[in-house]
């Protein structure tokens, strides 16, 4: 049975160490400034944020080309692997399309392209679950079925400090409705059907964080959770405290978000979680 390789894109923003442990391949998206194009993840976040906040110009982002995927797929297929590519939601990026085009060119029967309907911490959770399944020797169909199940139970919530970046980026989905809001609000956004929608509107950050934690299950059994941070250290700290009050002892990992995602949401605090059931792979 051919060994499965997991491919994802840079918005999952997994650490180098994790990528190496599971042999996960990453295809980067791009951030385009007028005079330069940066590969997502090739610049450290603090530097990037500084550039983003102080640049008069609004950078754009772009999906990897079909060629970018084709090169990776070709190498893996030629070395005898099959591929499961789990990618940023088609609701906010054309990355899945590029990957599908590439798969068609290289080996449609040996490559599965999975639309995560999510990104950042949510995508990372799916990629890790798939990588663990691959390591356990699950085949492509089994991994696809696992992902289909997990996708249905994945929850991704986030609170941007302001709507400015989402507005500029234009990938705002149902959050569009918030732009005319005259009253100062903290919007709670989430991924629904692969698009960014409004989950709730509250008046203060404290309430927003409490509301996020409220969405967690009552026990930490089988729960895997990532916090997502961009320039929101104090809020992440508070979020962590609130979560531990509710679910003492729960391992909490905080991920930064990639420059491409940061370009679209700006400073943000969020959380992604999946509740594993018995027929899914237990956490590491």
């Amino acid at each position: 049975m051919p060994k499965i390789k997991i491919v994802t894109d840079s918005t999952a923003f997994l650490e180098e160490e994790v990528l190496e442990r599971y042999g996960i391949e990453v295809v980067p998206l791009y951030v385009n400034f007028a005079d330069e194009t940066i590969k997502d993840g090739s610049i450290d976040n603090a530097t990037y944020f500084h550039k983003l906040m102080h640049s008069a110009e609004v950078p754009t982002t772009s999906q990897p080309s079909a060629g970018d995927f084709a090169r990776v797929f070709e190498r893996l297929i030629n070395s005898g692997h099959e591929v499961v590519a789990i990618l940023i939601s088609s609701g906010i990026s054309g990355t899945v399309e590029s990957a599908r085009a590439a798969a068609k060119m290289i080996a449609p029967a040996r490559i599965s392209v999975v639309d995560s309907l999510s990104t950042a911490g949510g995508l990372a959770l799916l990629v890790l679950a798939a990588a663990r399944a691959a390591q356990e020797g699950k085949d492509r169909e089994e991994i696809r079925a696992l992902l289909a199940d997990l996708k249905g139970r994945l929850k991704v919530f986030f609170v941007p400090a302001s709507l400015k970046f989402l507005k500029k980026g234009g990938r705002i989905g149902g959050a569009q409705a918030l732009l005319g809001t005259l009253l100062q609000i903290k919007p709670l956004l989430y991924f629904s059907g692969g698009k960014i929608e409004v989950f709730d509107r509250v008046r203060t950050m404290k309430k927003a964080l409490a509301r996020l934690v409220n969405e967690l299950p009552a026990t930490s059994e089988g729960l895997e959770l990532f916090l997502m941070n961009a320039e929101s250290g104090a809020n992440i700290q508070r979020l962590k405290e609130l979560i531990l009050q509710r679910l003492p002892g729960l391992p909490i990992k905080t991920y930064e978000i990639s420059p491409v995602i940061a370009t679209h949401v700006g400073p943000v605090a969020g959380l992604a979680f999946i509740r594993q059931t018995q027929n899914t792979v237990p956490g590491v």
Partner: protein
């Protein structure tokens, strides 16, 4: 009077019509005294105005009909008073008409026992209009009237006797209301709605006495006496009841004038200021290059000349509402509410949230109707996803019909109504029963509660889930109002003089003083607790932006760590609304 005479006695449609018309006219003479019986000395004593407008809605329709059938007259009165019902007392009154109508259904004439029974129905319906009847209110008065008149039916000989007994019992019950309801006692007043009911009956009695003279018929045999119960109305001359003539219903501003102004950077505020004195029901809406004006005026030419100053004029429309009115079939829109449709139309065009500027919701979504006054608040509500803002609030409660129209105008099948005032809730609930759509009323008691509730609107949740969450949010916030005292009062051990600035929060008088700013700071201090994070201040139409900013700075200084957000509300009568979260 003899037994024979009693048996022959009957009332027909004309009698009932005149009774209601005259009661309406008589009521108007006393409505200010009823308005003055406000528990809180705030400028929103609407009970008299509300009941008067409710009666007037019935009277208007009754003037248009020819029928002599008492059943039909009662049915028209019931329907039109319900559509025109304003405020809780107005709704209760309209329900009384509904009960009477049921009792008289199918009858051309009614004998005394039949009329008495219909009257009993009326009281039962009035009672049922309120989910949790409270003693010491109009309902206590209504019940005692019903009891008294039941006894009278066995002994009394004439309709006039019946009414006299009813009024007498009503007055007795009214005097008891302060004993039953401590807030009345503390404020030193009787229940305003109860007095309204007694005054209405006095008006009916006057009509009876007058017609007795005119018809000289067998059941009107007694000497005329001054109506009972009027001694309760202090400081008011008891005017002779006048039969309502057609002229009295002619509006002061008969021309409904609408025009679209096209120019550049037109200030809606300036347009409003310039037009304000030319009429009423003024509506100025739009932005920048296009502004729509709607006004009821007696000088449409002056209105157009004034508008011409701001740009070119388009889509002109001038209607004489008296003509319109005569063409209107019973049960249809009343002229005074004619502007409402325009409000709705214009407000959905304002840039706002929801689905984005000017976009309508899909039929499958949840629509929101809210009640508020002030253009700032309307814009905030719209930006949070309200589809229809019915104009009204403390200063003027909207009619059931206005709420019905707002609900019907929505493309959605499911609707949430935010009445934003405890005195509008019953009207909203009546409106729910009159429409085919699935509608739920969130019991919001202030515009600030309404805003807090509306934040929870979530199109991915069911109507009942939204309703539950909105109720929860509305209850969780603290709200406050700054206004002035319309009379001296001692409430919650705080003494205020007439004209003093007062601060009220969640039904309690917490601050009083001579200055707006100091009173607002005192109210905020009384409301705030350490866990509160944000105070939102909505300033009214009599406050300038600079004044509001100065107060904001004071509050920021006084309460470090608290965020103070300033918003233009534009509400009348209330200098500030406070929302604490």
């Amino acid at each position: 009077m003899t037994q024979t005479k009693k048996e022959n006695a009957y009332l027909d449609g004309d009698d009932l019509r005149h009774m209601i018309l005259e009661a309406c006219s008589y009521f108007d003479l006393h409505k200010e005294s009823i308005n003055a019986l406000n528990v809180f000395p705030v400028p929103d004593g609407d009970t008299g105005t509300n009941m008067g407008l409710t009666m007037r809605a019935a009277a208007r329709e009754l003037q248009q009909v020819e029928t002599r059938s008492i059943g039909e007259v009662a049915a028209i009165a019931a329907h039109s008073s319900l559509m025109g019902a304003r405020g809780n007392s107005g709704v209760i009154l309209s329900q009384m008409f509904r009960g009477i109508s049921r009792g008289l259904s199918g009858k051309d004439k009614a004998r005394l026992p039949e009329f008495g029974r219909a009257f009993q129905y009326g009281i039962v319906y009035a009672y049922n209009a309120v989910s949790k009847p409270v003693e010491g209110t109009i309902l206590t008065v209504a019940r005692e009237i019903a009891k008294g008149s039941r006894e009278a039916l066995q002994t009394s000989l004439t309709f006039i006797d019946l009414l006299r007994v009813a009024i007498d019992k009503g007055r007795g019950a009214l005097e008891q209301t302060p004993e039953l309801l401590p807030v009345l006692k503390e404020a030193g007043v009787v229940d305003a709605g109860g007095l309204g009911l007694v005054v209405f009956l006095e008006g009916c009695l006057q009509s009876m006495l007058r017609r007795a003279d005119a018809k000289n018929e067998i059941f009107f045999m007694e000497e005329r006496e001054p109506p009972l119960g009027t001694m309760l109305i202090t400081g008011k001359e008891e005017g002779p009841g006048e039969t309502l003539s057609k002229e009295e219903f002619n509006p002061v501003f008969p021309y409904c004038t609408e025009v679209l102004i096209k120019g550049s950077n037109i200030s809606t505020r300036k347009v409003r200021c310039n037009l304000e004195e030319l009429g009423d029901s003024l509506l100025v809406a739009g932005e920048g290059d296009t502004v729509k004006v709607h006004i009821h005026t007696d000088h449409p030419g002056t209105v157009l000349e004034t508008c011409l100053f701001f740009g070119s004029l388009h889509d002109l429309k001038i209607d004489n509402m008296v003509d319109q009115f005569q063409e209107t079939r019973p049960g249809r829109l009343l002229p005074e509410t004619g502007g409402q449709g325009v409000t709705a139309e214009l407000e959905t065009k304002l840039p706002a949230g929801g689905k984005g500027p000017g976009e309508q919701k899909d039929p499958g979504q949840i629509g929101v109707v809210t009640v508020s006054s002030g253009e700032g608040l309307a814009a905030i509500f719209t930006s949070l996803g309200a589809d229809q803002v019915v104009s009204g609030g403390q200063s003027m409660n909207p009619s059931v019909q206005e709420i019905v129209e707002a609900i019907v105008a929505l493309p959605t099948e499911q609707v949430i109504v935010l009445p934003n005032n405890s005195n509008i809730r019953l009207s909203a609930e009546q409106a729910v029963e009159l429409v085919e759509k699935e509608v739920m009323v969130v019991d919001t008691r202030s515009v600030t509660q309404g805003l807090a509730a509306l934040l929870a609107l979530n199109q991915f949740q069911s109507l009942s889930e939204n309703h539950a969450e909105m109720c929860r949010r509305a209850r969780r916030v603290k709200t406050g109002e700054i206004t002035y005292a319309v009379r001296a009062a001692v409430i919650d051990s705080l003494r205020v003089e007439k004209g003093d600035i007062i601060g009220i929060s969640n039904g309690r008088l917490l601050a009083g003083g001579k200055e707006i700013d100091a009173t607002t700071v005192a109210l905020a201090a009384a409301m705030l607790t350490p866990e509160d994070e944000i105070l939102t201040l909505f300033y009214g139409d009599s406050i300038t932006g600079e004044q509001a900013q100065a107060l904001q700075a004071q509050l920021v200084n006084k309460f470090p760590g608290l965020e103070v957000e300033l918003q233009y509300g534009g509400q009348p009568l209330y200098y500030y609304f406070l929302l604490v979260e």
